[in-house]
């Protein structure tokens, strides 16, 4: 295991594909592929030697998921940030505590990522 895991900031969010997928059906191909794909900044992809379609393990303080990576378009993501569409997998990384707000920290939390 030569590859060290590194810390990133995870931003789950809405995408129009994920939104359309809700109407098409959550068990449909489009929704499932959208919520199981992780966007990584081009600089990070290159630096880590990842290619689109690689599988990575992403670990937060609360959970762990395995996802396929894809290079984020253009300059949408700055290095150090990861993006994934809201869904089952993004929720697995959230903790149950809401810090008295009713809202779990669902965006902008630390994760580590390593290729598997």
């Amino acid at each position: 295991m030569g590859c060290m895991s590194e810390t990133f900031i995870m931003i789950p969010g809405r995408t129009s594909k994920q939104g359309c997928g809700i109407s098409e059906g959550k068990y449909g191909e489009n929704y499932q592929s959208e919520i199981t794909t992780l966007q990584v900044a081009p600089e990070d992809m290159e630096r880590l030697g990842y290619t689109d379609g690689d599988t990575v393990r992403v670990t937060s303080e609360f959970g762990q998921i395995e996802v396929v990576v894809t290079t984020a378009k253009g300059d949408e993501l700055p290095p150090g940030l990861l993006f994934i569409a809201y869904g089952d997998l993004s929720s697995r990384l959230m903790g149950g505590d809401t810090h008295g707000s009713g809202m779990p920290t669902s965006k902008g939390f630390d994760v580590t990522m390593e290729r598997i």
């Binding site: 931003i11 939104g19 359309c20 700055p78 940030l81 505590d97 009713g102 809202m103 902008g108």
Partner: protein, 438 residues
Amino acid sequence: MSTVESELKIVTDATCTFCGCVCDDIDLTVDGAHIVEAKRACVLGKAWFLNHEVEDRPHCLIEGQPATKEEGIERAARILADSKYPIIYGLSDTTTESQRVAVGIADWIGGNVDTTTSVCHGPSGMAFQGVGEVTCSLGEVRNRGDMIIFWGSNPAESHPRHFTKYSLMPKGMFVPNGRKDRTCVVVDVRKTKSAKTADIFLQIKPRRDFEALWTLRALAKGVSLDPERVREDTGVELAVLEDVMQRMKAAKFGVIFFGMGLTMTRGKHCNSEALLALTRDMNAFTRFVAKPNRGHGNVTGADNVVSWRTGYPFGVNHSRGYPRFNPGEYTTSDTLANREADCALIIACDPMANFSQPAREHLASIPYIALDTKVTPSTRAAKIAFSVATYGINTGGTVYRMDDVPIPLRPATESPHPSDYEVLSQIERRVQSLAASR
């Protein structure tokens, strides 16, 4: 040919309830049970209307087995009435009329009523209580807004007609040249699709919204700041923020639309509070308003209905016979993750996909009732699942647009399934008689 055409029904000015824009100018072409065209709808609206199918499923499943609606209602009412800590959750994708009945059920059974607001703009709801709300309708934004700021919100993907219908492109009474008369600023940690339409894009450091907002507050008040510190704290040059503040002061009618970039990130209600306080401060110089970009079709209605029924917008508990509000305690993420709720009524939402793992695990371990138009992870794990008609497509009723303007629905097709309103009204009647007999 004429027979084919005569079978097509046109529904004009139908209302799309997929997102909080609630566009009520959609012309639908209906062929039997199918909507074949949705004129003026965006990509999300088209997916909403054109994928609508009446699924051939039983009205009700009890533990996965087909049952009649009446059997389902009886079982549901008994579960709710017999439990110690029942919770009612969801409600952002159903009519105002159904929301009202759901609050009634919570009242009868001494349960909690909470809506998806708690995991959306709930923190902003708390901030409104602390700071107040300087607000306006989207019609005013369209006709007057000359400085439009989007903060932690990406309408290009979440509310695709926001720019064209309300906020950027329209030629309005006081902005006759449309987009040319408006300055658009986008503040985000990612260079989103929305950022690409902005005149000025402020790419702030992640988790530094609070710092960036307070920097702007300081600039509004004329406080001099150290450029190094500002760059370090926010990721943006002081000169850029000074320029934005100058433009904000020079605007005639400024609007800040904000999203879950603020409410879901560390700080949550403090982030929303900072934004509302900045908006309030700006009114010393010019007219400025702030509006949360609300996601689901009738999440705004949920806030309104729960407020006028209980006095609080979400996260309400009735166990003492009167409403109490406490986000962090009576909100659903908490009642589930803390393993307190012992049954649930889940209406038009999918906590089994969206909630944290401890919350999902607890929900899966208690008896719960789910109402949904489609099969979802939440209906699959429910003890009792009702297939219901789709609001706005099969049912009439009222929804509230994100600016609190109520809008009527104009249904296009009929559904063999009952509406949320019908199922909830029958459950309410039954729990009422069960409560009376105790």
